[in-house]
Symmetry: C2
Subunit: 602 residues, 2 copies
Amino acid sequence: MSESSQFLNMNTIKYLMYNVHQTEKLLTADRYAAYDKPSLDLLLDSVKTFCDKSLHPFIKEMDEKPSTFSNGAITIHPQFEKILKESGEMGLVAAMFNEEDGGLQLPNIVFHSLYFMMEAANNHVTGYLGLTAGAANLIVSFGSQYLKDTYAEKMMSLEWTGTMCLTEPQAGSSLSDVTSTASPQPDGTYKINGQKIFISSGDHQFAENIIHLVLARVDGAPSGTKGVSLFVVPKKRIQENGGLGEQQVIVAGEFEKLGQRGYCTSHLVFEDSIGHLVGEENKGLIYMFQMMNEARIATGRMGTGIASAAYYASMQYAKERPQGRKLTSSGKKDLNEDQTLIINHPDVKRMLLFQKAIVEGSLSLVMQAAEYVDLEHIAEGEEKERYNLLLELLTPITKTYPSEKGLEAVSTGLQILGGYGFCMDFILQQYYRDIRIISIYEGTTGIQSLDLMARKVGLKNGKVLEWLANEVQTTIKQASSYESLQSNIRVLGESLNSIQRVLTALMPHAHNGDFERYLADATVFMDLFGTVVIGWQWLKIGVSAQRDLSEGNSEFSADFLEGKLHTLHFFYKYEMSRCKGLSKTLMDELALTVDMKLAYLD
Amino acid sequence: MSESSQFLNMNTIKYLMYNVHQTEKLLTADRYAAYDKPSLDLLLDSVKTFCDKSLHPFIKEMDEKPSTFSNGAITIHPQFEKILKESGEMGLVAAMFNEEDGGLQLPNIVFHSLYFMMEAANNHVTGYLGLTAGAANLIVSFGSQYLKDTYAEKMMSLEWTGTMCLTEPQAGSSLSDVTSTASPQPDGTYKINGQKIFISSGDHQFAENIIHLVLARVDGAPSGTKGVSLFVVPKKRIQENGGLGEQQVIVAGEFEKLGQRGYCTSHLVFEDSIGHLVGEENKGLIYMFQMMNEARIATGRMGTGIASAAYYASMQYAKERPQGRKLTSSGKKDLNEDQTLIINHPDVKRMLLFQKAIVEGSLSLVMQAAEYVDLEHIAEGEEKERYNLLLELLTPITKTYPSEKGLEAVSTGLQILGGYGFCMDFILQQYYRDIRIISIYEGTTGIQSLDLMARKVGLKNGKVLEWLANEVQTTIKQASSYESLQSNIRVLGESLNSIQRVLTALMPHAHNGDFERYLADATVFMDLFGTVVIGWQWLKIGVSAQRDLSEGNSEFSADFLEGKLHTLHFFYKYEMSRCKGLSKTLMDELALTVDMKLAYLD
């Protein structure tokens, strides 16, 4: 592939994985004994080839020839046949499963790196894989032996794909209000009835079967989330001989979307469809949240991938497009000079550095979350819990930061192209459309922010928040040996404290039972918290780069390492500077939303 | 029309016009003697009816059936035939011209209010009118009697429409690099040769003729902007008897765009096309900037209009969509209650108030700019110059603030709809696409920011900036009588000072000839300056609302007036709080863009 199709930087991925997040240390654990650095590099490089050949060349076409619905079935772009086949062969779904379940037991940080690459190449693709992995994981984690035997292998090979069916027309994000029903049958199965909307990868022509993981209420179950159960409902019934029977899930339509148009989104109807209970009745939401938490990390990662693709596309344009001239010391332009490339204009550099800061900071956060998954796997006792809960705390942030700031980054990339950015001939407008769903998928930014502020910061009475602060302090301590990082240390420390100050100021509202007031600005709190967390990730990257520079690490060039330090400083100058204003807003005593009369909105 | 199609609030428009910006005072001037409040109200209401009946119902269809190019001609949506006819009859182009030139001599603030209404109704429309008005205005202002006689009337009636042809493929925003040529002919005309791209309303089937105002270089002219002249080049030549001759401008193509798809954007080729010089040779850019400055205000206004439409569309959804429940004092939801409408959730109120703050603050700024135009018209001597230069200073801000923050507002509106916001069935996704061009049209945000920082703040050695500060101080003084506005006064005063502090800190770079460094963060400076200016507008609105509340003004309800005050406080809590961080970024001494090695971007 020519440089014209760059959508990520392999060096950056490897640097973040190996140097910043020290993946090689993980490999010393028994769990990952099958892997070493050369084998991981080979895997990364082969997925890069897959991205270059099978994914990226089709992204524009998948947008222009989107999935379509007719005669009760959805048709997706023909290239998906090859993609699903190759992905199955490469073990891209099996990668996340344990060996004992037929998986490849790949470190989670590597798994996410591979998916990030695929999403940077073509964000319309990974949903088909990721939902299959997530659905199969629910079956493997909580399902009966029958369910495991019937589904796991076919799903890992992508002969069958999977979905998660949560949303209903009347309920949206409010899962307490799920009304789909499940009536127990004498043979132990359930008849499922109800409608589900916005079902990603809900139907297509390239899997023999599609396995829906469906939330529904068993007859007589309690109201609210405590009466919701989880069922496996295959599109085609599985006969006793293992063959496929008739179709029992109705595909009622397809949503025509602003972006991700190659990734189908369907409306499904269950009418006496036979389903199998996963685990116990009324625990559906607890199970589903395992998948949901993974899906939230994946969604943040996808936003990061789209922003990466936009960054490289806009950089390419900036390197090729001549326009305007550099200012001379008289403040005039010298018209005898040729026009300069726009990448030489400071404002264009600013727009590129902004994108780089968002993309690489977000990617490092995704890897941080993945690292906690890996550490949880190999740790014991209290340490295990610590990593698990650190992940819980970071999950809403890992979902939200790349989606909100990623959109800003993509829009900035589009801006670099000027009028051409608005033209359909260039890819930026597509990324601008594609990324807009990321802050909505899997719980909107508002929902994530409530999760962060209502549940996560209070986990174990604030202990988990303290653990995270300790993690940040560890990085600060590492940074303290480097002169060049002193100002960053100070700013990060102050900003970290401001989170605590804000909570101290707001907590009394919660203690007084005024939860609405406590949570009113949760979205602003998320913005503050997310910025601090990315500031932490950048300092972590800076520590590594400074160390490698000092020690004369030869694997990465000095420009590469200095570029990381430069972007760290950029993030602090342009983004960390926002923290004070955000905490001021949060501590402001005017309750302008909770108490607002609706008549004011006119 | 049902509430379902609300896209603006007439009360707000009238309140800003009459109460905040005191348009009735203008009417005492001779220039506007033909108008009184009842006649203006009638005009506003009749244009509202035009919006409801002829514009708004077609906005979605214009997106879905965009303009198309074939056989050397562009075809636009059939509804435009009616729209152009009615607009001509209503005098919507003639409105901005002086009576002596055959116009209606409408106050500029009313003119902009009418166009804002049309843009909120359907942002694909006004470009056809506005460019015709702008082009005709150049002819009327600088053209010969022959040009005026030939073109003005036909353009005011919209029998003929107009364009501005600046951009060339190799030059983009860099007008120094225009290469189209003009060769003088013995009869005093010029043969024009060259290519122009991104020509809005460049061709369509509903005008007998299209009048292009074209920048080109007369043979032998100096290089750079000082060698650029302005020409009138009609699509069809005008014969001596006044009839239309052959087509002489080649329509080479149409740009397929992300948004504003009903508003055509063409590629034009001039091949020995006969043009008439406007004014003197080599002064083209000076003339063109009159049109350009108007177009910049109009562009900001258009962004405001789109954001207004998105605000009301998302509010309607929030008022109709039940989902989730209010939190009780135990922090739990009461599942026996029905779901609540989402407008009752604090985060949704926050998102609506944010939109309201941006839309109404931006609209007030557009009116402020228009008010200066009117005051310039009726003032004499130094006062005239003062208003003219205040307008010059505000122009890049009036272009930029509504485009950048309007996009954020529209995206916030989309977010309120959750997954439905991403679906093509709902209009929000269209506004999200439409508004994306606004920060690119007529000089990108980067260009506007350079204009603000390199030219405008230094006008008359900083005197004009002082004049603006005085205007803000006048509002602060008016506000000082009201207890409720004290905290806003303090914040606005501090933020205003921070602009001066930033300039004091950066100016030495300019004095030392390091203009790149002085201008490196011009875009951040624009963000700061724009926020302060909108903070000023909101305080102005607040003073008016507080006065009307205190005096028991009966024309507007207490809820309406309190809603304005509430939104003022919202703007200060959530937006003015950004100012400190922005000035911190601006005063940071790291020159991270100017000095950056390109190799850092990898």
